[in-house]
């Protein structure tokens, strides 16, 4: 690598920017960790230095969170909804993306862009009519309400992402499979899907993390605490009246955020490729 000689000033500036931003951006998560293990009397004392433990660390907040709140229930709901949304997304998006990438020619590309644009339609534009649709389907206040509606975000983006993957597979490979006696659909199932595993895995992670991150639809369609996901249950229902259980609240945020962040981070470059197709070669 190397590059041109950098003046010490440039290098210092670079380090200041990197360290400063890393500290600022990660600070709330550090703060969640500290708050999780502090005793209540230590948290609510203006005289105490908030950066250190003025009293012995405690597991009380975690105990409260796991034993006396619906946190585990929300975690389970999120997992179930996540798995269902992933399944629906794969069933709808994988064949559609392949069809658009391969079979319908130039028209396919244009339709693909059109579908990608539907990804821009925000939940805050649709939540009012969508809540009507949800109640027509008899799904209000159930986990099904979000299982049925979340693929409206995941399917368009996944089709777009997978189209890129499928286009990278040489057409000759499929034609060779046809010569070997497979049908076109057979070639898709036995040949294209196995070599696109990494693309499909990206869609799986994208869809699952979206279920954990979405807030507006879950807040709108689900009205009872026990049917909520983590993303709404924690910030809305861990507050009783005006009382915030900050210790347990921060514990819940940290426990939920970290695993999602680790997994998402692994696949990030591929998601970004989905956003930048067209502008970066």
């Amino acid at each position: 690598m190397g590059g041109p000689r950098r003046s010490p000033l440039t290098r210092l500036g670079r380090w200041l920017i990197v360290i400063g931003f890393a500290a600022l951006l990660a600070f709330p998560f550090y703060w969640m960790a500290i708050t999780t293990f502090k005793q209540t009397s230590d948290l609510y004392n203006v005289e105490h230095d908030p950066f250190v433990f003025n009293a012995a660390p405690t597991l009380d907040h975690l105990r409260l969170l796991f034993r006396e709140t619906l946190f585990l229930r929300w975690f389970w709901n999120t997992t179930v909804a996540g798995a269902a949304v992933v399944a629906i997304t794969l069933v709808l998006a994988v064949p559609a993306a392949w069809a658009l990438a391969r079979l319908t020619g130039r028209f396919g590309q244009q339709l693909g862009i059109g579908i990608f644009l539907t990804y821009l339609v925000p939940p805050t534009l649709l939540f009012i009519p969508m809540s009507r649709v949800v109640s027509w389907l008899g799904l209000q206040d159930t986990l099904w309400a979000i299982i049925v509606t979340y693929p409206t975000f995941t399917v368009p983006f996944s089709i777009w992402l997978l189209m890129g993957f499928f286009k990278a597979i040489p057409r000759d490979l499929e034609d060779a499979a046809l010569v070997d006696g497979l049908t076109r659909f057979g070639a898709f199932v036995k040949l294209v899907i196995p070599i696109s595993v990494s693309g499909i895995l990206t869609v799986v992670i994208f869809s699952f993390t979206l279920v954990t991150q979405e807030f507006v639809y879950a807040l709108t369609f689900i009205s009872s605490a026990e049917h909520q996901t983590v993303g709404v249950g924690v910030p809305i229902y861990l507050v009783r009246g005006d009382v915030y259980y900050w210790g347990s609240l921060m514990a819940a945020c940290l426990i939920t955020s970290l695993p999602i962040a680790v997994v998402y981070n692994l696949f990030l470059d591929r998601f970004i490729a989905g956003f930048t197709v067209g502008a970066v070669k």
């Binding site: 064949p95 069809a99 805050t124 009012i128 807030f215 067209g278 502008a279």
Partner: protein
């Protein structure tokens, strides 16, 4: 000549049949997704429009066309005007902050160094963690009594700990806080998009400029930035959509308060249409998001088109 003609004739129908078979398969594979999108995106979109020009409330079954009545009553309400202005302030201010910070950060992260993976993970946290949880973290950091920010400022003798600034309780401060937290959330996203753009710029160009004696700033503004224009456009377009249509940060930090001072269009639509059960006015408020979305979509198509042509 005759032979070729006959061969062509024989080949043509077969070829046509194969293409149409393939097309049929394509349609079969594609239509489930299309039907789903039409039913759960298209239909609600049409309904959103119908509600905005109709008379519908949660209890009612009937529908009566009322023309622009809902829009008239929405536009006349002071809350709406406040939200409209706030939406633009919120979007423009946070996007300016995000693009400036993301540019600096992307440049700083461009070259590999030891610990880059860890730094990248830390920087990405706000974007990859659920925003509702990140926002509630900020609500604690900005707490009216136990705010760590106030504690630090008090130690620096900048504020009085017994009469501290109410970050979420005073109109101007609340707006600044909401903008700051949303920027915090969006900086990582723009940074990685800009990084993707930076890596596609040939390294030799800025290096050649440096050899020719151009300083850092000159190289940056005259070579790197112009080459990054398309990718900056992409980052801004997505950023505008994700900001203008978002209500999570506002809803969790302030619920639009104090006195509607942080209310934005999406949060007002939620309050009116979902909490207040006035579907028609809520839908009318949401409709004000459409012009921005259409504009962004059109600009995005231009970016995509240009990239294809060049």
């Amino acid at each position: 000549m005759a032979v070729t003609g006959a061969a062509l004739e024989r080949a043509a129908p077969r070829r046509r049949r194969r293409v149409s078979g393939a097309t049929r398969l394509g349609v079969a594979l594609f239509s489930p997704a299309l039907v789903y999108i039409a039913a759960l995106l298209g239909l609600p979109l049409v309904l959103a429009f119908l509600y905005s020009v109709g008379d519908v409330t949660v209890g009612s079954v009937g529908y009566e066309f009322v023309g622009l009545e809902n829009f008239r009553s929405v536009v006349e309400s002071p809350s709406f005007r406040r939200a409209l202005v706030n939406s633009f302030v919120f979007t423009i201010a946070s996007q300016v902050i995000v693009i400036v910070c993301a540019n600096a950060l992307a440049l700083a992260l461009r070259e590999r160094f030891r610990g880059r993976g860890l730094v990248r993970f830390l920087i990405l946290l706000p974007w990859v963690a659920p925003i509702s949880l990140g926002a509630i973290g900020w609500k604690w950091i900005l707490d009216s009594i136990y705010s760590v920010v106030n504690w630090v400022l008090a130690k620096m003798h900048l504020v009085n700990l017994f009469d501290p600034p109410m970050w979420l309780g005073r109109p101007a401060l609340a707006m600044a806080s909401v903008i700051a937290v949303h920027s915090w959330r969006m900086i990582p996203f723009s940074t990685v998009i800009l990084l993707a753009g930076l890596t596609s710029i040939p390294k030799e160009l800025p290096e050649a400029a440096a050899v020719d004696g151009a300083g850092f700033w000159r190289t940056h503004f005259e070579i790197t930035l112009p080459m990054m224009r398309p990718i900056i456009n992409v980052a801004v377009l997505f950023g505008v959509v994700f900001t203008f249509t978002d209500m999570t940060v506002v809803y969790i930090l302030t619920r639009g308060g104090p006195y509607d001072s942080t209310q934005v269009l999406p949060s007002l639509a939620f309050q009116t249409g979902v909490l207040g059960s006035d579907l028609a006015e809520g839908a009318a408020i949401s409709m004000f998001l459409v012009p921005i979305l259409v504009a962004v979509a059109a600009l995005m198509l231009r970016v995509a088109h240009r990239a294809e042509v060049v």
